[in-house]
């Protein structure tokens, strides 16, 4: 049976699309955005969050179960630590299991026009595994949105299209991504065209470096025919997760003044932008 690799499920989300939604974070992404606030969703492998603050070894203490811990030469995997030091980042779910969790809020979805948002990571990378779940959700008329970079195989996008009601497209136009090459733009343009007829929310994470590339941004958005976009002020809320994964981390938090200037510039070019802060 095809299992879905999920990092977390958040109910009652008010920001990931129309209405009140349940967001499923799926594991795996081919991009490595330095500001990614969910670094555990990047790799497709199971990684382990290690919370050093909970480990007794770091406090120069030893619990009776520590002797059997793999960190102290024993055989007990750190993920079995009763103090919760180690935690698997992947939870494997069958489509049926996931469905049972998602329909808990079916009443709320109906009331608010909400539904399920698949995010990640790049949710399209698990398109094939998602199909049975998507079929069940559509049988119940549940609204489905994908939060995607569109950097995924075209087949994957085509596979989920019949089940998707909307897309939140996260553009990667920041200079750090070095994606101004024609390959990225050509692929995005082609994929974006496939979304025709769906509800689309365009989104761009604002990092300070974007300010110096505003002309290029406008040019790409125009090329794609985009007249409206959400600007998300880059934050550093994921810092602790990098630490728990043992990964290097760069704080890309953006300047509020710069985002306002950037916003004004887009407006002057007839692109309506709205600011999102978390």
């Amino acid at each position: 049976m095809q299992l879905l690799k999920v990092t977390s499920i958040q109910r009652g989300c008010v920001y990931d699309g129309r209405g009140v939604r349940t967001t499923v974070f799926l594991k795996g992404c081919s991009l490595h955005c330095p500001w990614c606030c969910n670094p555990e969703t990047i790799s497709t492998d199971n990684e382990i969050f290690i919370d050093e603050s909970k480990c007794l070894k770091n406090q120069r203490m030893q619990g009776r179960f520590c002797r059997s811990c793999e960190r102290c030469g024993g055989e007990m995997p750190i993920t079995a630590c009763p103090l919760g030091v180690g935690e698997n980042t992947v939870k494997y779910h069958t489509p049926e299991e996931l469905y049972e969790i998602l329909i808990k809020d079916i009443g709320l979805f109906a009331q608010t026009g909400g539904g399920v948002t698949f995010s990640g990571g790049e949710p399209l990378l698990q398109a094939e595994e998602l199909i049975p779940l998507l079929q069940k959700l559509k049988q119940e008329n549940i609204d489905v949105v994908f939060e995607t970079t569109l950097v995924a195989p075209t087949d994957a996008l085509i596979r989920v299209l019949p089940y998707a009601d909307g897309f939140i497209v996260d553009f990667k136009l920041q200079p750090q991504m070095k994606l101004y090459d024609t390959i990225y733009l050509r692929r995005i343009k082609a994929h974006y065209a496939l979304l025709n007829g769906k509800r689309i929310t365009n989104r761009l994470v604002f990092v300070n470096e974007l300010a110096a590339h505003r002309e290029q941004v406008v040019s790409v958005l125009r090329e794609l025919g985009i007249e409206r976009i959400e600007l998300l002020l880059c934050h550093d809320l994921g810092a602790k997760k990098y630490e728990k994964l043992g990964l290097a981390h760069t704080d890309c938090s953006a300047d509020k003044k710069l985002i306002i200037q950037f916003n004004n510039y887009l407006k002057s070019k007839n692109i309506k932008a709205s600011l999102l802060t978390i």
Partner: protein, 673 residues
């Protein structure tokens, strides 16, 4: 204790009483010097040998003749904080009553006098007539004082005093003045936590007529309500029972009427609007919601909650009323459900239910006592649970006892059933006297039991003796166990079947034991919300939910783990079983992340969904930890920061440190949920 008994043996009892009474007066009037209090304070002591009810009438008469009041204010509010009625020793005061102000507004003292003439119990009639005379004397006194005021407003008020005592109000303005007049009297006689009741329902006919006859505009009506709210809130300190703000002055909005139609009129919206604008802690709002509550009322309520004033508390009236009927309230009465100041349901205008007269039962303390008291080995978790229930049953039974309550010939006059029965309000006059017990810290007990089951009986990581030793040492040297208790497994508020089953099992058990307890010959209710989560917890040592000695318990039926977010706790609370006698208030108290406040439409949907699913009551704070930390360090910067405490709102700066710290800790826990 020793010092107290020495003082008692050296100082005569009357002197001690004298000191106690003046201390009470100074607490009510902190702005006054001791000298001023000694000179101006009026203390009305009970007279020995008198019938308690006759003595009440005597005290009330003195009160009405000696009372000092201001007449230069927009409404006359005859509540003199320097006058104190003292109860006889061993008598408990009456608390948390909501009279039916709808009937009071329509009352005519002359007509009441005639009704009393027909009473067969002449002593009863004499007493009540005494009350009427005193009320008339006070109203006439106010009228004379108004004579000497030469303002436009005084001229208007002169038309109300004393005429309003003998007629149904002719305008909204007069209705508000009459309601405030009687409300002040209830406070003055020493009754506490006086609820205002369903003001959108009660005042609407006066508002509607004034608007229809173009006597006032909507804006002017709003201004009158604003004056009323500010008048009620001007004596917060003197009215507070324990912490400043705990006055129990609730205005109830919404809910069905006797004809099953939901009250949601212009006044419902105006009250919500006013509370959003005023942002004050006292009085407070309670909103009865049901599936018919319209979108506009919901939206205004969410806007009001978002100001962080703590109002309104949401009462999901269907499960509340249905369970009240199952318990024993008459189906035709439950449409008039109100609360005892905070969250405990009662019937407005019919209940003498004292819903918080006992000490709260603590299931966690019982578990601690069992574990530390017996050193017994248990073969299984089930065996331990059975032993726990036996001890817990004893604790529950010990909580409930008979109580000698104060009388109230004043309430008697305005509760129809009392006059019909010719009995004092507290002595068989009011038809309902179902008092209520409260359980504090249920979530802590559930977490402790779940931890014991997993750590001791399932995973065998620690023995029960290890746990006992850790508790005795407040986890010193047992930091690993302490971390484990917080980190491990299933937690209260999770919708895991095992957690729900254990919680319902314990709640049902409490209900079962309480169903055989009586107070003053009446069956009692029980609820799982209590104001004692800080005070009682101070006396309870370290516990196996991962709580160190003295740390506060959970607030009501709210989560204590960062793993439980608002969706989970609302789901969980809607799956708890509130039937039987478990109706004495079951409140989820949650601190909302600001993301929800920025999306009011979506928050509205979440709350409506929770009500559809069957939560009982909900109150929300909108706070962030950083603001609270800063407010604690720099109180001057936050003079108007309001927080929701157990069932009332208060200025953060007025709270004792333990409550401030608890709010900060909870804001942090919920922020990471």
């Amino acid at each position: 204790m020793k010092i107290r008994s020495i003082i008692k043996s050296v100082i005569p009892a009357f002197l001690l009483d004298y000191c106690r009474e003046y201390i009470q007066l100074s607490q009510r009037n902190p702005a006054f010097t001791k000298r001023k209090i000694l000179c101006r304070g009026i203390i009305l002591r009970p007279r020995k040998g008198n019938d308690q009810r006759d003595d009440f009438v005597r005290q009330f008469a003195l009160m009405c003749s000696k009372q000092r009041f201001e007449v230069g204010t927009y409404y006359v509010y005859p509540f003199d904080t320097m006058t104190l009625r003292v109860l006889p020793r061993g008598i408990a005061g009456i608390c948390s009553i909501t009279a039916d102000f709808g009937k009071i507004l329509k009352s005519d003292l002359q007509q009441l006098r005639q009704t009393l003439c027909r009473c067969s119990d002449k002593d009863f009639a004499t007493r009540e007539n005494g009350i009427i005379e005193s009320i008339e004397r006070l109203a006439s006194g106010i009228a004379s004082r108004l004579e000497s005021e030469h303002t436009e407003r005084a001229e208007v008020l002169r038309t109300y005093f004393p005429s309003m005592l003998y007629r149904k109000p002719q305008t909204l303005d007069e209705a508000i003045q009459k309601q405030l007049f009687y409300n002040a009297l209830f406070w003055q006689v020493g009754h506490r936590h006086i609820g205002l009741g369903r003001l959108d329902k009660i005042l609407y006919e006066y508002y509607e007529r004034d608007i229809r006859e173009s006597r006032i505009t909507d804006t002017e009506a709003k201004e009158l309500l604003r004056h009323m709210i500010l008048t009620l809130g001007k004596d917060t300190r003197a009215k507070s029972v324990s912490l400043i703000g705990d006055t129990g002055q609730y205005i109830l909005l919404g809910g069905i009427d006797d004809d099953e139609r939901t009250i949601q009129n212009r006044l419902t919206l105006l009250f919500l609007e006013l509370f959003t604008e005023l942002n004050i802690p006292d009085p407070k709002l309670i909103l009865r919601v049901n599936s018919e509550t319209n979108d506009e009322v919901w939206s205004r309520a969410i806007r009001c909650i978002s100001t962080s004033c703590g109002s309104p508390l949401l009462m999901n009236e269907r499960p509340v009323m249905e369970n009240m009927v199952r318990f024993g309230y008459d189906a035709k009465d439950v449409a008039q459900v109100g609360t005892s100041a905070c969250w405990e349901p009662l019937i407005i205008g019919k209940s003498f239910d004292q819903n918080n007269p006992f000490r709260s039962a603590s299931p966690l303390k019982v578990l601690n006592d069992l574990l530390l008291g017996d050193n017994k080995t248990y073969a299984s978790f089930e065996e331990l649970l059975a032993a726990y229930k036996t001890v817990f049953a004893g604790e529950l039974r010990s909580v409930v006892h008979d109580i000698d309550f104060d009388c109230s010939p004043l309430f008697t006059l305005f509760f129809d059933d009392c006059i019909r029965r010719e009995k004092d309000f507290t002595q068989g006059g009011a038809i309902y006297a179902y008092h209520g017990a409260q359980v504090v810290g249920l979530p802590n007990a559930i977490n402790a039991l779940l931890n014991i089951k997993e750590i001791v009986f399932e995973r065998h990581l620690y023995t029960l003796d290890d746990c006992r030793e850790a508790m005795r040492r407040n986890f010193a040297g047992y930091e690993d166990l302490y971390s484990m208790l917080l980190a491990t497994g299933k937690k209260y508020g999770s919708t895991d079947e095992e957690v729900i089953t254990l919680t319902n099992d314990l709640m049902e058990f409490v209900g079962e034991i309480m169903s055989i307890c009586m107070c003053n010959g009446e069956k009692i209710k029980v609820g799982f919300s209590s104001p004692a989560y800080v005070a009682l917890a101070k006396q309870v040592g370290a516990s196996l939910d991962g709580r160190k000695a003295g740390e506060p318990f959970a607030v009501h039926i709210s989560p204590i783990s960062s793993a439980i977010d608002i969706s989970k706790i609302l789901d969980f609370a809607s799956r708890l079983n509130y039937t039987g006698n478990r109706i004495n208030g079951n409140v989820v108290d949650f601190i909302l992340p600001s993301a929800y406040v920025r999306q009011p439409e979506k928050l509205k949907a979440i709350l409506k969904d929770a009500c559809d699913k069957g939560i009982f009551e909900l109150q929300l704070n909108v706070l962030d930890k950083q603001t609270l930390i800063d407010a604690k360090a720099h109180p001057d910067k936050y003079p108007n920061l309001i927080v929701r405490v157990w069932g009332f709102s208060a200025y953060f700066n007025d709270l004792p440190e333990a409550f401030q710290d608890n709010l900060i800790r909870r804001a942090e826990t919920y922020a990471t949920a």
